[in-house]
Symmetry: C2
Subunit: 148 residues, 2 copies
Amino acid sequence: MKHESGYNTKQKEKLLDYLIANKSRHTNVSEISAYLAAEGTPVGTATIYRQLDRLVENGIVRKYAFDGKTGACYQYIEDEQQCHTHFHLKCLSCGRLIHLDCDHLAGISEHIAEHHGFIIDSSQTVFYGMCSDCAKAKKEAASANAEE
Amino acid sequence: MKHESGYNTKQKEKLLDYLIANKSRHTNVSEISAYLAAEGTPVGTATIYRQLDRLVENGIVRKYAFDGKTGACYQYIEDEQQCHTHFHLKCLSCGRLIHLDCDHLAGISEHIAEHHGFIIDSSQTVFYGMCSDCAKAKKEAASANAEE
DNA sequence: TTGCGTGCAAAGGTTTTGCATGGCA
DNA sequence: TGCCATGCAAAACCTTTGCACGCAA
């Protein structure tokens, strides 16, 4: 099985521990770095990136690249199976990222795979739009500004 | 109607010209910058970003953010109407952008709007994954590397 | 003329790289 | 012991921001 290649160092262990402990959500490098430092095992940024890269390559961790400036996010992959039913919604107004576990949506992947010959990587796919809060706000602004 | 707001400058014009001329594919800032410079109308990077931002806001250009380090990509949106039932598939392997007109997919927006209170902007939303060609190629590579 | 758009340069943030050292196997 | 991983710092990169000047309206 594709597992931790290379040596076992405590940095790598701690890093993986953290990822696993937070597998329900995604983190980023600065969070990881801050945690490890606070935890008593400060790890250099370069090392974190290097380990993360390897973990991603080995399929142990998933990398999300929502936005160039925010920095990439990483998340431990618990099980292969959870991948295809999990999408993300990102609000373009407030920037909120919403995790979406929905069986109905899972059908999308299948539909597209079958009918369009395209395999969606839902971990990389983000639906952009507006969350209910922002939609409300914009609706009001728009009605005041209607021109067409 | 949401069009080029603000003044008409030759920089903006050239930039838009380039985007329209390359509407079949996506470009990035360095490409644009290089082109404009070679073309005899060098435009400052800051200006390109600023104009691009505005174009994106006005719905004239679509912005893709694949990866932090690659930089964002931009693409001219040909027609307004194509947007709301129209999703995009982008192959992460070969970079191909596939336009997807499909009634079934249109239901996605409604489902998410109703059940998740989120309004998808399909013109900004891109499904990332793998096209059939690349999937085939990868499948072979993966089976050769199977360890479990 | 007014004020927006532009350009330059500097700042900001994330990620990568080089090199010497330290630790795993 | 040999080699990989680490750390630090510098570099590279993309993007944003400040400020003065030029140009569109």
